[in-house]
């Protein structure tokens, strides 16, 4: 991981994970995937290297949104669905803070869907951890916008009749500049992705496939089962070919307008035919195809799928202020009050 360079002040001393451990009892269910995310955060924050008082966590409501209590930074536990909007205010007000949003699939994409697409569109420089367990955990098991069609839950006893969002697709549809997918059982990948999210200027959305052991256990079994996972997952790395499989002999390539899975060594296919991953590519078409891939025909993509450069809202705001300030003749309220059409009696 190369160093991060931006306007957020770095810590003069090397921090450790203990610097971010809070004194609160962690009350998630034993076995919940959220624990792994917490562990990854406290591991990666010292590496990111900002002063500890420059980190701010903002969340909404949900099991996942209890996160801020469990990590020793500045923290704001908001209201349901509004973490993204609250965080927008925090970051615009003070761009020198490293702002992290923790949200659930319901919090971000059900009630919070509007702020979610708008923060992404504006490309405000925050990092968003979307803990996607495809269920409402805190309210005990109702379906969410990511629950698969037909899912039987407390509010869909006969199966849902709703097509789910694919978070990656929605992010890209909203002009997203950074989208990555991690999974709770792979902490190493999670910390790598978090580091990249921190490095990215703009809204970084990190979807974590997170198991809710109580209300949706096994939602990602296919992707975590040792027997199948290597054939069901592909971990994308910038600059590397999209190769996967137990025998590392499967790959992705383009066929006409669609992506397809091929086997290296069959039908004359060689490594050269396999696509090379470029998360920084401006055109999001291929990123979309990668984000959409799903079983059984395709492997699910993990890793940083998109990380494209684009000006951030907060930078543009600061630039505009600097520029207008330099041009204007009005420097304080007394100037303003006395400007324009006035007269004396």
């Amino acid at each position: 991981m190369t160093e991060i360079n931006n306007t957020i002040e770095k810590s003069p001393v090397k921090l450790s994970r203990e610097d971010f451990v809070s004194d609160q009892m962690v009350k998630w269910c034993p076995g919940c995937g959220d624990h792994a995310v917490l562990a990854a955060v406290s591991k990666v924050f010292p590496e990111i290297g900002y002063k500890k008082e420059n980190f701010v966590f903002v969340s909404g409501i949900g099991c996942s949104s209890r996160f801020p209590y469990y990590v020793n930074t500045y923290g704001f536990h908001g209201i349901h669905g509004r973490a993204t909007a609250i965080a927008s205010g925090v970051k615009i007000a003070n761009p020198k803070l490293s702002v992290w949003i923790v949200t659930g699939d319901g919090d971000s994409m059900a009630i919070g869907g509007n702020h979610f697409i708008h923060i992404i569109r504006r490309n405000i420089d925050v990092n968003l951890l979307l803990l996607n367990n495809r269920i409402y955990g805190l309210t005990k098991g109702q379906y969410s916008p990511t629950s698969p069609l037909g899912a039987v839950t407390k509010t869909s006893p006969y199966g849902t009749i709703e097509h789910p969002f694919n978070p990656g697709e929605l992010v890209l549809g909203a002009q997203g500049t950074f989208y990555a997918r991690a999974i709770d059982v792979n902490p190493k990948l999670m910390t790598e992705i978090m580091f990249e999210a921190a490095r990215h200027d703009g809204t970084s959305v990190v979807e974590v496939l997170q198991n809710c052991v109580i209300f949706n256990d096994g939602a990602y079994d296919e992707l975590t089962d040792r027997a199948t996972r290597e054939d069901r997952l592909i971990t994308l790395q910038a600059g590397e070919r999209m190769i996967f499989g137990k025998d590392r002999n499967k790959g992705l390539r383009l066929n006409g307008t669609s992506i397809e899975v091929v086997t290296i060594g069959e039908n004359g296919i060689t490594e050269e035919d396999i696509l090379i991953h470029d998360p920084s590519q401006h055109d999001s078409g291929i990123h979309l195809m990668l984000a959409k891939m799903t079983g059984p025909d395709f492997p699910v993509a993990l890793g940083v799928i998109r990380a494209a450069k684009c000006p951030t809202y907060d930078d543009l705001m600061e630039e505009q202020i600097t520029e207008i300030r330099a041009k204007s003749k009005i420097h304080c309220m007394d100037d303003l009050l006395n400007s324009g059409d006035t007269w004396t009696i």
């Binding site: 809070s22 609160q24 002063k51 500890k52 008082e53 420059n54 701010v56 966590f57 903002v58 409501i61 801020p68 209590y69 020793n72 930074t73 500045y74 923290g75 704001f76 536990h77 908001g78 209201i79 509004r82 909007a85 609250i86 965080a87 927008s88 205010g89 925090v90 970051k91 615009i92 007000a93 003070n94 020198k96 803070l97 509007n114 702020h115 708008h118 705001m317 505009q320 202020i321 207008i324 300030r325 041009k327 204007s328 009005i330 420097h331 304080c332 309220m333 007394d334 303003l336 009050l337 006395n338 324009g340 059409d341 006035t342 007269w343 004396t344 009696i345």
Partner: protein, 616 residues
């Protein structure tokens, strides 16, 4: 000019109403006339009356745009009830505005616009200028369109371009009628069209044509009048609308407190102008965030508060409703959020361009659970500046979210504003926690009960707050029964203690008497005028106008008990009176309510008060 001055009648005050088609430029005409009057020493107040539609079909009643100015040689409280002069640039504007004209007033019409089709579109069966229906008025039938085109013919302007300066003709006539010079308008034109000298010249010629034409009209010549300069406090003045004043008041509080101003807002009539005004001031470091909706407006402002800014959100009724949940969050996190509600006529979308005082009870009680907030109500366009400043000041110093109530009438209306010096405004000192101090999120100041503000980025103050109930002092998540009750009462008491810092409630009039008129918010001017009128008639009437709603001034009970009868006048079905009944059960209140989307008129107020004085 000498000749004119010979015949002038002196008048104390005059109300002029300009009206015309949306495209006729009546807002500008009214503003230029008002500015001229102001520069010549009159006190004044104005109010624009926009059509609900952007540009409804030409010549329809729906497309009429109006502007009223009330100017005088004494203190002017309102933009006036009925007018002394009505300008009607087409039949539709006559149709829409005749009800605002006093009997015997002068009506200036562009007779050229009274064509068959236009009259039909306005809903006139016969020509009102000729069917005798206006016999109670002095009607000036000026061939404005024709004379305007005439005046610019030499400059080679076509009819369409010429017609754009018809409003200058009208302005010229009015300047003559009220013995005002054309110089202010000249200067304005020179600046505005500095890139196009022909346009400047054309407008000047039309202005002069109107001025000169007026002299030739008998009906005008005989009524030329002059409103002498008012005796106003010495100082520097400007004219300001309530919405601009609100924006500036908030900016002043930001400067005084050293807290960056962050506005999260979503456009909505009649509050949008505050967002528009604030977005101009990047030069002063103002950050405006046009949010995707009202909820993002308020929650981004809460986020900014958390981050150490003066976080503000501005809106009107429907948007205020949407913010209800988030206001609860600001209450429980005890952050200095300022919410401005420029009230309009409800319920629901209601009548968006009309004013009302219908959101008071919502401001007081419109949140789930016990969620008290500071509430201040501005009483006039200029007072918006001071009320906004004060709202932000108390919010910041007492760490409480606060609501400023204004309304469409004072928001769009303008008054003359004696420019204050920033040094003369009180200091604002928020309780910001020192780096590395022993910080506890819910430890309170003994006197104010305000908690401290620990700003992210500060060393040694990392902490977490949020919407769940927290323990006293320490701020841990808690469902402890006693703690919850304690915190509930602390949050309330903190707001109530602000009363210690409020000035005493004043009574305008004798300390005791027969009838105390109580009002609040944007109705101050009308009620004050009515009370003044009755006092002049020797009646024992007093006026207590409330700016501080929650908490009420400490001497409120005393004030309300000083008179034999108390009537509460408000532009809703009776909201402040409910609040007073809750707080002062022992006092008997009478009500005068109006729910028409229109301001009070002085006349209906005096009628009502007289009736109450007579009743037993």
């Amino acid at each position: 000019m000498a000749e004119i001055e010979n015949k002038v009648v002196e008048m104390d005050e005059v109300v002029i109403r300009f009206s015309g088609d949306s495209g006729d430029g009546m807002q500008l005409t009214g503003t230029l006339f008002s500015d001229t009057a102001a520069h010549t020493g009159n006190d004044l107040a104005t109010f624009p009356d926009f059509p609900a539609e952007i540009r409804a079909p030409h010549n329809t009643v729906a497309g009429v745009s109006g502007f009223q100015v009330h100017f005088g040689s004494a203190k002017i409280h309102t933009s006036g009830d009925l007018c002394d002069v009505l300008i009607a640039m087409n039949p539709a504007s006559l149709k829409a505005n005749l009800r605002f004209a006093k009997k015997g007033s002068t009506i200036i019409t562009d007779v050229d616009s009274f064509e068959e089709k236009a009259m039909e579109k306005a809903g006139y069966a016969a020509n009102p200028l000729e069917d005798g229906s206006l016999s109670d008025y002095i009607v000036v039938k000026a061939p404005i369109r024709m004379l305007t085109r005439e005046a610019v013919k030499e400059l080679g302007l076509d009819a369409k371009s010429a017609d754009k300066s018809k409003n200058m003709f009208t302005l010229g006539m009015l300047l003559f009628m009220f013995s005002k010079e054309m110089t202010y308008t000249h200067k304005f034109l020179e600046v505005k069209f500095k890139k196009n000298p022909t346009v400047v010249e054309a407008n000047k010629r039309v202005l002069a044509a109107g001025f000169n034409y007026a002299e030739t009209v008998e009906a005008i010549k005989s009524t030329v009048s002059k409103v002498p300069a008012a005796k106003m406090p010495k100082g520097k003045y400007r004219s300001i609308t309530g919405n601009t004043a609100t924006a500036w008041g908030l900016m002043a509080a930001s400067e005084k407190s050293g807290r960056q101003l962050f506005l999260g807002s979503y456009p909505i009539t009649p509050a949008t102008e505050i967002l528009m005004e604030l977005s101009k001031h990047r030069n002063l470091g103002v950050k405006t965030f046009q949010a995707e909706d009202e909820i993002a407006g308020v929650t981004s402002a809460i986020g900014a508060c958390f981050a150490g800014s003066l976080g503000i959100t501005t809106t009107s009724g429907p948007g205020f409703s949407l913010k209800s949940e988030a206001l609860g969050l600001a209450v429980i996190t005890e952050l200095p959020l300022v919410v401005v509600n420029v009230q309009r006529s409800g319920p629901s979308t209601g009548m968006p361009t009309k004013s009302e005082q219908g959101d008071l009870l919502q401001a007081l009680y419109g949140r789930n659970g016990e969620a008290p907030m500071l509430i201040i109500a501005a009483s006039s366009p200029v007072d918006c500046f001071y009320a906004a400043f004060e709202t932000a000041r108390f919010a910041l110093e007492h760490m409480t979210p606060a609501i400023l109530l204004t309304d469409g009438y004072i928001g769009f209306g303008s008054e003359l504003f004696q420019i204050p010096k920033m040094d003369d405004l009180p200091a604002i000192v928020p309780p910001i926690a020192a780096p590395n101090s022993d910080y506890k999120p819910y430890r309170r100041d003994e006197n104010t009960l305000a908690r401290q503000w620990a700003i992210p980025g500060t060393e040694g103050l990392r902490h977490r707050i949020g919407g769940l109930e927290k323990t006293d002092v320490f701020g841990q998540v808690s469902t402890d029964a006693q703690n919850h009750e304690k915190m509930t009462y602390l949050r309330n008491e903190k707001v109530m203690r602000i009363a210690e810092r409020l000035p005493e409630q004043e009574i305008f009039g004798e300390p005791e008497g027969d009838l105390l008129v109580v009002s609040w918010g944007g109705t101050r001017g009308f009620v004050r005028s009515a009370v003044e009128k009755l006092q002049k008639e020797g009646k024992k009437v007093g006026h207590a106008h409330f700016r501080y709603i929650m908490p009420l001034p400490k001497n409120t009970r005393q004030v309300l008990s000083a008179y034999k009868k108390v009537v509460v006048a408000e532009l809703n079905a009776g909201q402040f009176v409910k609040y007073l009944r809750i707080n002062f059960p022992e006092i008997t209140f009478k009500e005068f309510n109006k729910v028409q989307g229109q301001p009070f008129t002085v006349i209906e107020l005096t009628d009502k008060f007289n009736q109450l004085l007579q009743e037993d």
